[in-house]
């Protein structure tokens, strides 16, 4: 292919085959907070692991529902709790993260 010197960003089309509400429901049973996230992104803004692995609780919750890979993001979470402190919905994000770590294989 001719190299024009610029590229398009990779498509992030959802693969509906992979959408996994079962996982998400399982998660909600362990941590009810998963269901009340409003996607405000406060957690992403404050997360010190964001620069290391793109970690963000908001994105993780989306990724769980979409069946996308979450391992990379979770790998750098230090459980520092900053996201818990800023979450306007009062979600116990640390428990949420630990619960996600326990339901995947």
């Amino acid at each position: 292919m001719t190299d024009f010197g610029f590229t398009l960003s990779r498509s992030s089309t959802l693969d509906l085959q992979k959408v996994d509400e079962g996982r998400f429901e399982q998660l909600c049973r362990l941590e009810k907070g998963a269901a009340v996230c409003i996607g405000c992104g406060s957690c992403s803004a404050t997360c010190p692991a964001g620069s290391l692995s793109g970690m963000s609780v908001r994105k993780i919750l989306l990724a769980v529902r979409r069946g996308q890979d979450i391992h990379r993001m979770l790998q750098c979470c230090m459980l520092c709790g900053k996201c818990t402190m800023v979450c306007p919905r009062g979600i116990n994000t640390r428990h949420l993260i630990l619960s996600i770590c326990s339901i995947y294989d």
Binding site: K82, T84, V86, C87, N92, C101, S102
Partner: protein, 576 residues
């Protein structure tokens, strides 16, 4: 004084002897199991400690003071102390003197074991010796203790205890048999001395003893032998290293369910958490109820208050951290490539580590910086633009391996900086640095201690304000690291200071602790409010603390201003 029977035997001694053999056997097996569960090095340490003359003396003294006289309980609650020590010490003295008496007057009967227990039945006129008189005194003492125990059982409030545990049926059997032993002994002795040799009372006495000894190894009374083992473990320096095993098992077994930790636990500001204090943890440990152990372990704030009030020294937080560590997660963090953080150079300077939390209370960091500048200290701020976490949150969540990855990575960064002093403003990080980091040649210091030194050296010039502060001891700084005085010294230089009703070792957690995994913030408001109520109990008009998390947590609900100690110092000092 003569023996009444040449045989020196009656069948009623059999229940007693059977119970005795049973209890000794089971306790021995349990002790062997616990010792075998220790780590190799700990086990060796323990064996050696049993031979070390100083430690033998220390073990003996500690066992007498803690198990028999209950000194620590006396300090906490005199009535409870009297109750426990009169029963334990009185009973011990009766056994000891009883054997002495047999040894002195009928040495050939010592091998029967039961002679001292049923002395007045086998011996005519035994009550006239001086030993018998002293023993009668001790029996009265025990009876007084038992009466108090009966009163406490039905009316615990006069002991100043708001809440106690409810014993299980099994423990109730033990309890009632214990209550029965001494009155029965008293009656049987009095009858025998009056010449009435009917054996029914002696049978009852022997059977009560037997029941007590049979239930002992399986209920709360196991604490009697377990505490002795615990004391030797502790003096040998054995730590809790495995969940449910070794030292963890002995600590759980040593808890007499006294319930002192229930009223102390800050979680109990919310009745929903009533069954999650350490006494319930030890109870569920013993029952092997994994589900409840998990719940109780996850909920706790790890504030350490139960340990500071516990007269046995059960380390509730440590037991819980290891219970958490026993859990399997399928995804594990991996920080091996978290190498992007750049090494700050700070040759021989002060390196300031503010920690993740301080990023959310930026005034603290700025104040620390400003004070350092005023005092003319050469410093570098290690994580001004973000850095790695100290590892404590992972550690308390039970993810020990992952935490140590972070610790090793931070060690490299700190040692690589060439700093001479690591200055920390968050007590949560400070504790992790103190306990789990190896930083040879680098002094780790919390700013309260450090600024106090600067003040003593005359590098900080204070101007006292009219405000009056009450200092909230953050759990990790106070109970965690033992820093109580320097913050107070600094505040009293900068402003007025008042004390809350509960302070220092008894300070009440703000409720924001990262220690708890399962408590949502919505369920912590009551805890925070209870902690604030305690602080409002002083005559101060503002609250000072020295932990970014306490600051953030209190600020949500407090109707008085809350400030970090560094901020107060900064406001009240000038550049010299």
């Amino acid at each position: 004084m003569t023996e009444r029977f040449t045989t020196g035997f009656h069948p009623f001694v059999i229940p007693f002897l059977a119970g005795m053999v049973f209890v000794l056997g089971v306790c021995l097996i349990k002790a062997v199991i616990a010792v075998r569960e220790l780590d190799g090095t700990d086990r060796k340490k323990w064996f050696l400690s049993l031979l070390h003359p100083n430690l033998i003396v220390k073990n003996t003294i500690d066992i007498i003071l803690d198990c028999l006289i209950h000194v620590r309980l006396w300090k906490r609650n005199r009535l409870l102390g009297f109750m426990h020590s009169s029963i334990a010490f009185g009973w011990f003295m009766i056994i000891l003197l009883g054997h002495l008496q047999v040894l002195m007057f009928f040495p050939e009967r010592l091998g029967t074991f039961y002679y001292p227990i049923f002395f007045d039945y086998f011996i005519e006129g035994g009550q006239h010796t001086w030993i018998s008189r002293i023993m009668d005194g001790f029996l009265i003492l025990v009876l007084a203790g038992i009466s108090l125990a009966i009163i406490k059982r039905f009316w615990s409030r006069i002991f100043g205890m708001r809440r106690t545990t409810r014993p299980t049926l099994y423990n109730l059997i033990g309890l009632y048999s214990l209550w029965a032993i001494f009155p029965l002994r008293f009656l049987a002795e009095q009858c025998a001395r009056a010449g009435d040799l009917s054996v029914s009372l002696w049978w009852a006495y022997s059977i009560a003893l037997c029941i007590f000894m049979v239930v002992l190894p399986f209920g709360r009374y196991l604490h009697i032998p377990a505490e002795m083992l615990l004391i030797t473990f502790r003096n040998a320096g054995v730590g809790i290293t495995r969940p449910h095993k070794g030292m963890a098992r002995v600590q759980a077994d040593s808890c007499p369910n006294c319930g002192v930790c229930i009223d102390a636990c800050p979680m109990n500001a919310d009745p929903a958490n009533l069954k999650d204090s350490t006494v319930y943890l030890t109870r569920q440990f013993r029952r092997g109820n994994r589900e409840r152990v998990r719940e109780i372990s996850d909920k706790c704030l790890l504030c350490g208050k139960c340990t500071s009030v516990c007269q046995v020294g059960v380390d509730g937080p440590r037991l819980r951290i290891l219970a958490r560590a026993a859990r399997k997660y399928n995804i594990a963090p991996d920080f091996s490539d978290a190498g992007t953080a750049t090494v700050v150079r700070a040759e021989n300077k002060v390196l300031y580590f503010s920690g993740c939390m301080t990023a959310l209370t930026p005034k603290t960091g700025r104040s620390v910086e400003s004070i350092l500048k005023k005092a003319g200290i050469d410093y570098e701020w290690m994580d001004r633009d973000g850095g790695l976490c100290c590892g404590r949150p992972l550690h308390t969540a039970g993810r020990l391996k992952e935490a140590s990855q972070l610790v090793r990575r931070n060690e490299e960064l700190i040692i690589g900086s060439g700093a001479a002093v690591l200055l920390v403003s968050c007590p949560i990080c400070y504790r992790e640095f103190k306990e789990n980091y190896r930083l040879p040649g680098i002094r780790v210091v919390h700013y309260a201690d450090y600024f106090c030194e600067l003040m003593d050296k005359g590098l900080l010039c204070f101007e006292k304000s009219d405000a009056c502060y009450v200092f909230h001891d953050p759990c990790e700084l106070g109970r965690g690291c033992g820093i109580y005085e320097t913050p107070r010294k600094l505040i009293s230089k900068a402003a007025g200071i008042a004390e809350a009703p509960k302070n220092r070792e008894e300070s009440i957690c703000c409720g924001g602790s990262l220690g708890s995994l399962s408590l949502d913030f919505s369920r912590r408001e009551k805890i925070t409010r209870a902690s604030l109520e305690n602080l409002y109990g002083s005559k101060a008009d503002a609250i000072a603390t020295a932990c970014p998390l306490c600051l953030a947590t209190f600020s949500r609900y407090s109707d008085r201003p809350v400030k970090d100690l560094a901020q107060i110092i900064d406001e009240q000092t000038e550049k010299i």
